[in-house]
Amino acid sequence: MKLLWLQSGGCGGCTLSWLGSEQGSLFRLLADEGIDILWHPSLSEACLDDARELIARCADGREPVDVLCIEGSLLRGPRGSGGFHRFGGGAKPMIDWVKQIAGRAKHVVAIGSCSAWGGITAAGINPTDACGLQYDGEAAGGLLGPEFRDSAGLPVINVAGCPPHPDWITETLAMLAHGSLRAEHLDDFGRPRFYADQLVHHGCPRNEYYEFKASAEKHSDQGCLMEQLGCKGTQAHADCNQRLWNGEGSCLRGGYACIRCTEPGFEEPGHAFESTPKVAGIPIGLPADMPKAWFIALAALSKSATPARVRENATADHQLRAPSVKRSKK
């Protein structure tokens, strides 16, 4: 499977995340799965005229591309010209190269939330008119339009995340290489369901604190981050606390909020990222599929049932009380 990877309005962090893959050497893994990198801006030897010649061949069909991976937002500005990003060495805007090659590639994959939805580059006043390949925030559209389908009938595959986990990228590409990725494997936003059908909350090590609404009050506290510190792990689609990052990490394990970076529009939450907005003391963002009245009732009940151990440990940066030891009554 011939893979072409291009970068546009992003930070390169998706590639750097990918390089942290912990399944042995990433390069050998890809070769072993039958994935052949035609060109990647950070990894390939070819550059200058050789690279431009290759890209031109991909664009006019002389070089078949099985998978086009795009990392970074697509920059339509200024004034629709695409001039905020030209592919080095020529006058043509990157968005024109992307449109041309996407029209010929067998599959198109958005690597990261920038190329999926616009992402961080579209935050604030969105100075570059950044969008995703097939979405502009939550709205279908983007650079390629809502009707875009590849030759196999798939929309753009959105490996969303800021950055995505290395294995989300690898597993998606391997599914394509094996010919096993079908439309039913993608969720409503085109994300591979193998990671997007989970919630970040699943596997959170702070779960006992969550159960009792024993909340952290400040950074470095051990308690649940949902009530005060902006955590959206109960709503965000991803398997971060099951798959784990860089060995045994995740945002919540690192002590800070999930900012739902796999979701469209995460860059503009409408409140401070690390503080939970509330109405009448109730967090606005409720856990996925949770009826509000039940959430309020359960929260009140669990708060009153909180063991002293859990309550005290929640606002400390180390364990003040260990779970008690019980002996069997023999």
Binding site: C11, G124, Q222
Partner: protein, 482 residues
């Protein structure tokens, strides 16, 4: 009559780079460096809550992500008038050091060395070995380095939750309290990384290389054994004359980094003509004469600077601004950092032949041997149970500065807060210094100077030497323009 060539994309530079070369009689007579991508972070940040900068700025750059976080955290701490507790400071140093060392390794093995596998070098006696070892993606070295690097980056899982793009680095310290078994696991990660470096990269104990004091000693060290990729590079460097290639401005700047009880592990300053000078941060100004931004009259200090893109500006050729220190072009990076900090090997190299491709590469690897033992020491000083993070809100009307050293050089954030919102946020990244376009006075940037005079043909393949010079700066183009 010179011929003009526009060449790009230079890849393996982290981002987008294009260079225009004026070539006459087989030589580059003038080079113009262009960053062809603009994203507008300084515009995005305006009007945001100050603390939200910690979500936005790491996403300027996937490879200097923690450095961007650290600069923002310092600026916010400065604005709030707070200092993190000792555990928080050690964690910040460890996190930044982990990124910087991983970046040095990534640069050497994935970005820089693959150029010696080019066909152009087929007749060199070292070619076969170098191509087998360093060729992009298939060489034996990158395939050994990736797993070792991934294991080392597990330190980020423990210290920062993940990499890149953490929120663990806060103005008041770290969000991640470590307990004793996590400290032990970090200790194991550092030990394994040391083992890898000593076996594979240096073929020697780190302290042995760190103790070298001059070029002559370095040559003797190279000849005393066969092991290690650094020795392979040194042999190539001698054969190709890389010690005399890519001389820059010979004026070096470092903000200094890794906060200790007193001062910083690597001191700030300027190194010029064999003397260390104090760094006057007030003398920094950004010129936009040849950049696609609205004219500002005269160059502005970043605390007063602005960013308003103008795509069709006459005479402009880059989205990069031209920062200058007291009107002078300076070079920044590991070579500058170690020259200013006073490492005898680096100072001797500069006294001997000045800055060069080989000098920049050796300084970067030297820094790995200096910083990893420090990481081991910082880890020993962590006291589980002591505080990690303090809380503070910046005032509604305030300002702050965060100056730090990323792997590739000096990174500065200048923040102004009005009515509780970010009024202005200006960033000068390392490669903004190194790869700037000309200023109003016509002074070329550091890379533009380093490229002038190199051999180049007006039509055929560009010599690999040009690639070596460009990549020797370890450019990060996504940071450059942000």
């Amino acid at each position: 009559m010179s011929t003009r060539r526009i060449v790009g994309p230079f890849n393996r530079v982290e981002g987008d780079l294009e260079v225009t070369l004026d070539i006459d009689a087989g030589r580059v007579v003038a080079a113009y460096v262009n960053s062809p991508l603009y994203r507008g972070f300084e515009q995005i940040l305006q009007g945001k809550l100050p603390a939200d900068a910690l979500v936005l700025v790491p996403r300027i750059c996937g490879i200097c992500s923690v450095a961007q976080s650290a600069a923002a955290a310092l600026a916010l701490a400065d604005a709030a008038g707070i200092v993190p507790p000792p555990n928080g400071r050690h964690a910040a140093n460890l996190t930044l050091a982990a990124e910087n060392l991983a970046d040095h390794l990534t640069h050497f093995y994935l970005f820089f060395m693959p150029d010696f596998a080019r066909e152009e070098y087929k007749s060199r006696r070292w070619y076969h070995g170098a191509a087998e070892r360093f060729r992009a993606t298939v060489g034996s070295a990158p395939n050994e380095v990736l797993p070792a690097r991934a294991r080392f980056m597990q330190s980020m899982g423990l210290l920062a939750g993940k990499w890149p793009h953490t929120l663990a680095v806060q103005a008041g310290g770290s969000t991640r309290p470590l307990q004793s078994s996590e400290v032990f696991r970090l200790h194991r990660i550092l030990r394994e990384f040391r083992g890898f470096l000593e076996r594979t990269t240096f073929g020697a104990p780190l302290e042995e290389f760190a103790a070298l004091t001059g070029r002559a000693q370095l040559d003797a060290w190279r000849d005393q054994a066969q092991e290690g990729d650094l020795r392979r590079f040194l042999a190539i460097a001698d054969d190709l004359g890389l010690w005399g290639l890519g001389r820059g401005t010979e004026r070096y700047m470092s903000y200094g980094c890794y906060a200790l009880d007193e001062g910083r592990l690597f001191a700030p300053g300027v190194w010029h003509e064999g003397r260390r000078l104090a760094l006057d941060v007030g003398a920094i100004a950004e010129d936009t004469a040849h950049s696609w931004y609205a004219a500002t009259g005269r160059p502005q200090h970043p605390a007063e600077g602005g960013t308003l893109p103008v795509a069709d500006k006459e005479g402009a050729y880059s989205w990069c601004k031209s920062p200058r220190l007291g009107g002078q072009v300076v070079e920044t990076g590991a070579l500058a950092r170690q020259a200013v900090a006073g490492h005898p090997l680096v100072r001797d190299i500069l006294a001997d032949g000045g800055g060069s491709v080989a000098a920049r590469v050796v300084a970067r690897l030297l820094e790995i041997t200096l910083v990893l033992p420090q990481m081991e020491a910082w880890l020993d000083r962590i006291v589980p149970g002591e505080p990690w993070c303090i809380t503070a809100q910046p005032a509604d009307e305030t300002a702050g500065v965060g100056l730090i050293e990323a792997a590739r050089g000096s990174l500065g954030h200048w923040l102004t807060v009005r009515r509780g919102r970010i009024h202005n946020y200006q960033i000068i990244a390392p490669t903004t210094w190194n790869f700037s376009p000309r200023d109003a006075a016509g002074q070329p940037g550091a890379l533009e100077q380093a490229l002038a005079g190199l051999a180049a043909s007006a039509d055929g393949q560009l010599p690999a030497a040009i690639h070596h010079v460009v990549r020797s700066f370890d450019p990060c183009m996504v940071c450059t323009v942000h």
